[in-house]
């Protein structure tokens, strides 16, 4: 048995003690051999790994796949063993596979992280088809940007439900003559398609034959149904919208089942209108109402950014001087003001504009003004910080040189200080405007007005082509701003 080394001397750490300590708590051995920082890190990781396994089992947030727990436990145990081996090797002044511990922790993190965030690569690829139609509309939305003046030819006829007792009460079906456009339906009365609850399936309605003439030859025909209370819709039959096609003589026949119309509260015989409609000319293409709306809103958005930036400049300028350390380190009082201002600016800046927008909508209601308030607050904080840093980085040499020429204090400010701060001020301001344009599209999502709000509404209504217009306008505006600001900044800095 070796005698204990005298206390106070630098004893050689015992590998056995290091191993045993690490068996109790990974990292304790490292701490014991003098690798204190590493020991604390190893211990914290071990505790977190064990705690997360327990958490994953207890919480409903995570639905562990079979086998995952085993992997987690095995990697934790392996990590534990590695910690022991590493501590022992450190005691012998070696370093046992330092990357192995890291690899085990990473493996653990990915296995658990995959489950916690519900990563599903299969879904990611197989369900792409769901997004594809939306994607194409958003990427190529220009059909929604243009509208035409449309001229139609059409004819209508009537249909009764239920069939009247007296045949004379049936809607008359008249065939026109000459070039006249007409349509008839046979039979002129019948039953609607109905969901049969006892059988659990759709019972078909009366089969109807629609016959029309006087149409433009070889052109498609649209069919519209207007029910007794005036709702117009395009009837569907066997999973498709009912459509017709005029033949070479301008005649058309279409057969379809009577549509499913709710009739439970119906009293007496009701008459429905069936219309055949053909588009004969599409002239005068012009900007659609939606496109006009989007353009108007992008102008609003640019103005929002402009207003927020200019308000921001006005308020940030004075703040920046009292937030500049070199100007405020004169006395304890000014230094205290400096720290207070810096603190407030940091708090305001660390709250995202979208949060400010939420607050502002409560404050002044939905609309562009709320967005301006949100952007202004964030801009003040950001610009005051940037400006004050520009002031802090002023060189004293030119001030000295200008003073030496016999310049008055005002001249020193105008010729030595202003030329030094103006270029960074301009540069930061333009950069901030650029950011504000981008942000103003986002804050619309929480009611801050502008094009963002429009985009939010359109996506909510699944109007993907319109949403695509908004997306394109935003992208165009942001890239123009981006380019312009880069160019202007290049000239100034």
């Amino acid at each position: 048995m070796t005698p204990l080394p005298p206390s106070g001397s630098r004893a050689k750490p015992s590998p056995v003690v290091a191993g045993l300590l690490s068996l109790v708590l990974p990292g304790a051995g490292h701490y014991y051999v003098g690798k204190r920082g590493q020991g604390i890190l190893v211990a914290v990781l071990a505790v977190v790994m064990v705690a997360l396994i327990l958490w994953a089992q207890a919480t409903r947030e995570v639905d562990l796949q079979p086998g995952t727990e085993i992997i987690l436990i095995v990697s934790t145990v392996a990590y534990w063993l590695w910690a022991i081996a590493s501590a022992v090797s450190h005691a012998r002044e070696r370093n046992f596979l330092p990357t192995l511990g890291l690899i085990l922790v990473l493996a653990y993190t990915y296995v658990l992280g995959w489950q916690v965030t519900e990563v599903n690569l299969k879904k990611f690829f197989t369900e792409f088809s769901d997004i594809y139609p939306i994607f194409t509309k958003v990427m190529w939305p220009w059909e929604a940007a243009i509208e035409y003046d449309v001229t139609n030819i059409s004819a209508t006829t009537r249909f009764a439900n239920p069939c009247p007792e007296n045949a004379a009460d049936l809607p008359p079906q008249t065939e026109g003559s000459g070039g006249q456009t007409w349509v008839t339906i046979a039979p002129a009365c019948g039953d609607f398609s109905k969901y049969d609850t006892t059988q659990g399936k759709l019972a078909p309605g009366t089969l109807l034959a629609l016959k029309a003439s006087g149409l433009r030859p070889n052109e498609p025909v649209e069919i519209y149904w207007t029910d007794a209370i005036g709702n117009e819709f395009r009837p569907r039959y066997e999973g498709a919208t009912v459509k017709g096609m005029a033949d070479a003589q301008g005649n058309m026949t279409v057969t379809f089942g009577a549509p499913q119309i709710e009739t439970t509260t119906q009293v007496g015989v009701q008459r429905h209108t069936i219309e055949v409609r053909q588009q004969v000319s599409k002239t005068n293409p012009h900007m659609s109402v939606d496109m006009e709306l989007a353009l108007n809103r992008i102008v609003v958005t640019i103005f929002q950014a402009l207003m927020a930036t200019s308000f921001g400049i006005i308020l940030a300028l004075p703040l920046s001087f009292i937030a500049a350390r070199n100007l405020m380190s004169g006395s304890p009082l000014t230094l205290a003001i400096y720290y207070a201002i810096r603190f407030v600016l940091n708090v305001v800046r660390s709250i995202e504009p979208i949060i400010w927008a939420l607050i502002a909508t409560v404050w002044v209601g939905l609309g562009p003004f709320a967005g301006v308030i949100a952007l202004t607050l964030h801009t003040i904080a950001a610009l005051a910080k940037l400006y004050s840093e520009a002031i802090e980085s002023i060189e004293s040499g030119p001030i000295e040189a200008i003073t030496a020429t016999g310049a008055s204090p005002l001249q020193v400010i105008m010729h030595a200080i202003i030329p030094q701060v103006i270029p960074p001020f301009v540069s930061f301001t333009i950069y901030r405007w650029d950011i504000n344009v981008r942000l103003s599209t986002i804050i619309g999502f929480v009611g801050g007005g502008g094009i963002g709000q429009l985009l939010y509404q359109w996506t909510g209504q699944s109007l993907w082509s319109q949403a695509g217009l908004a997306v394109w306008l935003i992208a165009a505006t942001v890239s123009v701003m981006d380019y312009a600001s880069a160019e202007i900044r290049k000239r100034f800095v």
Binding site: A401, S408, P419
Partner: protein, 262 residues
């Protein structure tokens, strides 16, 4: 005639930069101030135009006590005293012409500078000065696009338009290579000989001191430890130079140092 009597500067933190410094410079002299970094050269130069307020002592120039001039009249004194710097101290983002024009600030109405206006006469002076230092083609360049030697020439042009009688040069060539050092000091020599401008210039290298100065003072820890005229400079041995610089200093020539730094 520039006379410095018992000049002392003690900074707020207690550092004694200048200790009872006295010397005089006749009109038209080229005075070299030598000494280690921290020996008080920069403080001495800045006391002369009161960029630094001396603690005690007097500075008499052309019969006027500069140390007694009230703050409000200081610009009348300063505009007659030019200064160039080791780091050139140009306003980097302004044009060469603007930098040179700032030499006229002691003469124009301060309110003019709010609109950045200089009389046409001043512009003519600035163009002439730039022509003299050979920078006619760089008038509209930003100052920081120029090389070190060119920037120092802008500094000299700024002094030229200022129409000075006394030039303070604070290590004007320490940031430049030996060829440029001679070119810049050559320009100062021309100002000294042709324009009869008295030059007070701090320098580091014996060969430059011997080549350009007519008079030398050596500073060590804020005290004058050496005073000599034209003849003593030429006879000054490297050993004597080393003595002024202190035992730890190596005697080096400008060419040697610059060669090593490259």
């Amino acid at each position: 005639m520039l006379e410095v009597h018992n000049l002392t500067k003690i900074y707020e933190d207690g550092t004694q930069a200048l200790d009872n410094v006295s010397f005089s410079v006749p009109d038209g002299a080229f005075l070299a101030v030598i000494g280690l970094s921290g020996s008080g050269k920069s403080t001495l130069l800045r006391c002369i135009n009161r960029l630094i307020e001396p603690t005690s002592g007097t500075i008499i120039w052309n019969g006027q006590d500069i140390t007694a001039v009230p703050r409000g009249e200081l610009r009348l004194v300063r505009r007659q005293i030019g200064m160039i710097f080791q780091q050139f101290n140009l306003v980097k983002r302004s044009s060469v012409l603007t930098n040179v024009l700032s030499g006229r600030l002691g003469y124009v109405n301060p309110l003019f500078s709010l609109i950045n206006y200089f009389p046409a006469d001043d512009r003519q002076r600035a163009l002439a000065a730039l022509d003299r230092v050979g920078l006619t083609d760089k008038i509209n360049n930003r100052a920081d696009t120029l090389s070190g030697g060119q920037q120092q020439r802008v500094g000299i042009a700024r002094v030229l338009v200022q129409g000075v009688r006394l030039l303070l040069a604070d290590e004007p060539v320490s940031s430049l290579d030996p060829v440029l050092a001679h070119s810049i000091l050559g320009q100062l020599e021309t100002l000294n000989r042709e324009d009869k401008i008295t030059v007070v210039c701090s320098l580091h290298y014996l060969d430059l001191v011997q080549r350009y100065s007519t008079q030398v003072i050596g500073l060590r820890d804020g005290r004058v430890v050496f005073e000599g005229d034209n003849l003593t400079i030429r006879q000054m041995t490297p050993e004597r130079f080393k003595e002024i610089y202190g035992e730890e200093a190596e005697l080096v020539s400008a060419a040697k140092v610059a060669g090593e730094e490259r």
